[in-house]
Amino acid sequence: MAAMRSAIEAKGVTRIFQSTGSDAVKALDNVSVTIRENEFFTLLGPSGCGKTTLLRLIAGFDFPTDGGIFLYGEDIAPLPPFRRPVNTVFQSYALFPHMTVAQNVGFGLEMLDRPRVEIEARVDAMLKLVHMQDLKNRRTSQISGGQQQRVALARALAPQPKVLLLDEPLSALDYKLRKEMQVELKRLQAETGITFIFVTHDQEEALTMSDRIAVMSAGKILQVGSPWEIYDRPTDRFVADFIGETNFLIARVNGVTSGKANVTLSSGANISATIADGYQPNGKATLVVRPEHAKLLKGAGDIAGVVENIVYFGTDTHIQVRLSEGGPFTVRQQNTRNGGCGFAKGDHVGIQIGEDAAQVLKD
């Protein structure tokens, strides 16, 4: 891997929206994050978590109340959007309705006063990149949503920005088209080598496309990491809950040896678990176990329960268990062609939590 240069760096960014007659809203609360060069970086979180605000601050449509935003070390926070080598793909595409596809794509270069010949060549190259060269003279109202999406991408990529910002660009597309564009976006990122900052509330989209993900909630970044780290090594209850399905267990930490914790479950069973960064040893802990990392047994396991519901999903079956200590627990079991999962409603079962299945959250 090349040296990890930072493309965008947010340092202590706070954005407070003050409106008359109501309380001030802290959309971003002292957020610091470093986005590396050539990386596909995703800001993931529910609506209202501040991810779009952060994107707008980087684009220059809004300015931070406090803190700095650095592009390759240069503070760009006070610059207007037209002085930042950063382009945006808008959620609604925001294509100019009074221009053709080619005019839309060429707009940025035209505003940079590039020579006519260069603009034409670049527009053609961009349209070819997104497979839209045949529709170059169409009006933007005459093309489909998926095609508009491609034009919006070509338009934002044409001026060769240092960073491309994408604000939930796939949310308006139907499922199949969205899958297609996910692949397309990854390809474009690889081909252009531009740093992508992608905003989404769709965890699946984030996991499949990103090099790294920042999970946000209530104006704060809770965890930054690779999709694997976010999914398998969540540090925070919100992160674990927001991404994928999770079982939470209360446990007591007996001790930590070489990065692994020995914990006692409320059933009395002792298991080992990985520990989240920033864990403060205080005896009690919340344990997360992904449904596919636990195993259901006919006999006794680490914890006991009764099968409450069985849901068939095709590739796998979700078996929902009511624990004898109280609380639900879901186990996901890979399906075979033999039919049935081997359990029935009302069965008394044991749940086995493997050697490397559990993670202790930091709080």
């Binding site: 684009a59 220059g60 449509f61 207007p80 959007p81 037209f82 950063v86 382009n87 945006t88 808008f90 609604s92 925001a94 294509l95 100019f96 309705p97 009074h98 053709t100 707009f107 940025g108 505003m111 940079l112 009006r139 109202s141 338009r155 934002a156 001026p159």
Partner: protein
Amino acid sequence: MGTAKETINRFERADVRSRWLLSAPALIIILFAAAGPLLVVLVYSFLVPGSYGDVKWEFSTDAWVGVFFERDIFDDTLSFADAHLTIFWRSIKLSMATTILALIFGFPTAYFIATRPERTRDIWLFLITIPFWTNVLIRTFAIQEVIRNEGVVNSLLKLAGIIDQPIPMMYTDFAVLLGMIYVFLPLMVLPLYASMEKIDFRLVEAGYDLYATRFRVLRRVIIPLVKPGIVAGSILVFIPSLGAYVTPRVMGGGSNLMIGNLIELQFGQGRNWPLGASLSIVLMVIVMIAMLIFVRYTDRSDAGHG
């Protein structure tokens, strides 16, 4: 199958009948309130003036000749009616100036209103329409009060010691122009606002994002998008300006006539109804030509839009 087709046909005929019935009131109004009077005007323009106003029912093209030519009292030779042509030209010139200036002042006003928070926009629109509540004549006299020799502006300038003699502003083209802009400005602001309000301001952000400076965003994004409003507002201001009668009368005095005053003169003191009628038709033709130019202009710029 045949019966189904017949039923459909019957319903279609009934549908057509009911549509005619529904549009009957509108058609009657158009016939009696618009087409009828116009026909009268057209007929009158080919008659001979009576001695005390009114018309004599004799066919004559004198009125039409009189619109463009003057007959010499002594030798009956025709020469161009300079007075009329000057008034036509002044009317067109002043109306165009009014339209352009109303656009220049109205555009920022409309933009200001359209960019306010939704709650306060209604208040601003309300303020814009307040002058409409007062009679045009009163409003025009109010302006007169501001710019006449002993008016507000001259008094203040004198008081400040900037001038000794009042600057004569009344009874000039400037005064007429000022009065017309004031009276017709809301007609420009409202359609401009209507089309600006519809703008997706993310397009403006997209413009900034793609390296367009504020001026270029205005020229390349905002103006093309509000073009329908610009055209509608220009038509709404230009047409009444051309036929304006009260404002040029009050602000221009007797020397700065516009077509409207000339027509009024023929029906009043001039007692030449046929000439007045033909002048009215000339005014209509000028308006029609202006409309055609406007429509051509917008059609071309909108080609390929939909």
